[in-house]
């Protein structure tokens, strides 16, 4: 039942609200996951089996969210797909739990010392419980339903908005841009960095927010409408200009030259410190610019 005049019965609105809420919660988990990956790289994988449960558990919700997005806006998962998904994720959850038990002393030591994530391992256990519950629901639903009924070929997805190619692009860019959105939110609180390097700070924040802005434009663009395509083209021009400004700033402004801003996520290796984070944002922007060019070219061709 989908009544667009009632917000209680409006599935489109309710699904969107639920998705956005889960997305915001997931930002923090994604951010924690990436922090732990960077830590793992910087300590040369010495603490691999200690960090692995954290990384798996902080990242898994993103996979669930991607599946939810696919179900909402593309096509519902098949019966076999749902069963395989629950089995694989349950194995990962069990593996994480096993590693946590194996490194029990580490987790308990840190927990009782209120060290770092004093909520770890509680948050990890909470994640296991929630994800396992979701798995049970998905599994039971998948088993009960007939194969054809579940894949729902006549009405695939609530919206069925995106093509397969567009969905894949959204999911890939979505993961990275979400992480940078999380970083953007965190960096807003680093007041001392604002007072030290105001220009670099503003440029940096703009740079890490741009992938998310691009994602929003890509989610919203309607390739059949001229105005929408023009708006999408404008964000492509902004990307190009911003990239030029950023590369120029990187080589000329003190805060960038001395790597002062956001070192944890900027310099992801301990020995040869490549500006990986900057490069990843740059790569996303380049991909977005290529996407803008190709789609505008296609639009012009089809509307000749």
């Amino acid at each position: 039942m989908n009544n667009r005049n009632s917000y209680v019965q409006n599935d489109v609105l309710n699904n969107l609200v639920l998705f956005v809420t889960l997305f915001v919660i997931n930002l923090f988990l994604l951010y924690s996951g990436i922090i732990n990956i960077i830590g793992l790289i910087t300590d040369e994988f010495e603490s691999l089996f200690i960090q692995l449960p954290k990384i798996i558990l902080y990242f898994l919700p993103s996979v669930y969210l991607m599946l939810y997005f696919k179900n909402l806006y593309y096509k519902r998962i098949s019966k076999i797909g749902a069963i395989v998904f629950t089995i694989v994720t349950t194995i990962l959850l069990a593996f994480s739990l096993f590693l946590m038990i194996q490194n029990f002393r580490y987790f308990v030591n840190n927990y009782f010392s209120s060290y770092f994530n004093s909520y770890t391992p509680l948050d990890l256990i909470l994640l296991i419980v929630i994800l396992l519950s979701i798995n049970i629901v998905i599994f039971v639903k998948a088993i009960k339903m007939k194969k054809d009924n579940y894949s729902d070929p006549l009405n695939p997805g609530t919206f069925s908005v995106y093509t397969k190619r567009r969905l894949v692009f959204i999911l890939i860019i979505g993961v990275f841009s979400s992480f940078y959105l999380g970083l953007f939110v965190l960096d807003l609180s680093l007041i001392s960095d604002v007072t030290r390097y105001p220009l670099e700070y503003v440029i940096f924040l703009g740079y890490i927010l741009l992938p998310f802005i691009n994602l929003i434009f890509y989610l919203m663009v309607d390739f059949t409408k001229k105005k929408s395509v023009i708006a999408y083209g404008i964000i492509g021009i902004i990307d190009v200009l911003y990239l030029i400004i950023f590369v120029f700033s990187l080589n000329s402004l003190e805060g960038f030259i001395y790597g002062t801003l956001n070192q944890a996520l900027l310099l992801a290796t301990y020995a040869i410190s490549l500006p990986i984070s900057y490069a990843v944002v740059g790569l996303i922007l380049c991909v977005s610019i290529i996407s803008v060019i190709l789609n505008i070219k296609k639009f012009i061709k089809t509307n000749k």
Binding site: I35, T42, D43, N110, S113, I257, Y258, G259, A264, P275
Partner: protein, 321 residues
């Protein structure tokens, strides 16, 4: 858009870059000074490259450090950088409280990793100012490059017997493709010279994180057999700053007789080079790469009779259980 608006928009970045939201200030040299009473056999414990991170097994590592600090029983602890890496506010709070809990004066300087955390550039200094035993005297709004440029005078009555320069050797320098290690900046060395002019010349030791080019020069001379007065061995390339500077000569001119640094985890040499000791600290925790058989700390003993050579420096190796 009106021309005026365009001009304002174009000028905004220039305006922002030309001014800082908090104007930089010059502080008198005396504001960077801490003092401690000197006594014969004044023992300095150098801890380096602790690398407390979100990965650390905090209790296990701090138990090891506790054991070492208690058995060394120093008059002063100096942390020569990379105390933190990939850390958080919670990590900083815990570790600084832990160091402070021994009720021994301690000096902190930055390494290239200390600011790699989910906190602002001023967080560590701000937290240090809350501790009882930190000797840090630096100002976030000062004109000096770096965040830990101060000095500790070891006093015998009203006279300074020895001076310890605590220097921020900074972090990175972008070379257009990747980041090299930074060097001690010219204004920081000038600041040391101003200290010497203002407070007088006394035998001094310098503590910082990233070694100078001279650390590499000295070891090459050891390998070539030109230097015989040395202890220990280096097991990896000396990761020095991105360029050669005149810091060593200028520091020697103001009375620096010993340099103590960290950064390279498996280098352990103490070398007498041009009349000055150049010493690597002993990595003090097993966090990230290390030589498991060579963990511990370094002690520098300052004597009343002012005798100073390699015998004043001792590397203490303690097995990590």
């Amino acid at each position: 858009m009106k021309t005026n608006s365009k001009v304002i928009l174009l000028c905004l970045p220039l305006f922002l870059s030309s001014c800082s939201l908090s104007a930089k200030k010059s502080y008198p040299v005396s504001d960077y000074r801490s003092t401690l009473p000197f006594k014969d056999n004044f023992k300095i414990m150098q801890l380096t490259d602790l690398h407390f991170s979100v990965q650390s097994d905090y209790k296990r590592v701090t138990n090891y450090l506790s054991l070492n600090i208690r058995s060394c029983n120093p008059n002063l602890i100096i942390l020569t950088g990379d105390t933190f890496m990939d850390s958080s506010k919670n990590v900083v709070d815990n570790v600084l409280n832990f160091i402070d809990s021994f009720n021994i004066p301690f000096a902190f300087t930055y390494g290239n990793h200390d600011k790699q955390g989910t906190y602002g550039a001023d967080y560590i200094n701000a937290y240090l100012s809350k501790t009882r035993n930190s000797l840090l005297r630096d100002y976030s709004d000062d004109v000096l490059f770096g965040d830990a440029n101060y000095f500790i005078d070891l006093m015998e009555g009203k006279n300074t017997k020895y001076r310890l320069y605590i220097i921020d050797s900074n972090t990175y320098h972008f070379n257009g493709i990747n980041f090299d290690y930074d060097v001690i900046h010219d204004d920081q060395i000038t600041h040391l010279e101003e200290i010497e002019q203002s407070e007088g010349k006394v035998p001094s030791l310098a503590f910082y994180h990233i070694p100078l080019y001279e650390a590499d020069d000295a070891y090459l001379e050891v390998e070539a057999g030109k230097i015989t007065e040395y202890k220990g061995k280096n097991f990896e390339k000396r990761a020095v700053g991105y360029k050669r500077t005149d810091a060593f000569t200028r520091m020697k001119n103001i009375g620096v007789i010993g340099h103590f640094y960290g950064h390279d985890h498996i280098n352990y040499t103490d070398i007498m080079y041009e009349g000055v000791t150049l010493s690597y600290g002993v990595k003090s925790t097993p966090e990230i790469y290390n030589n498991e058989d060579l963990l511990g700390y370094k002690t520098i003993t300052l004597k009343y009779d002012m005798n100073y050579d390699l015998t004043n420096i001792e590397s203490v190796v303690v097995p990590y259980e």
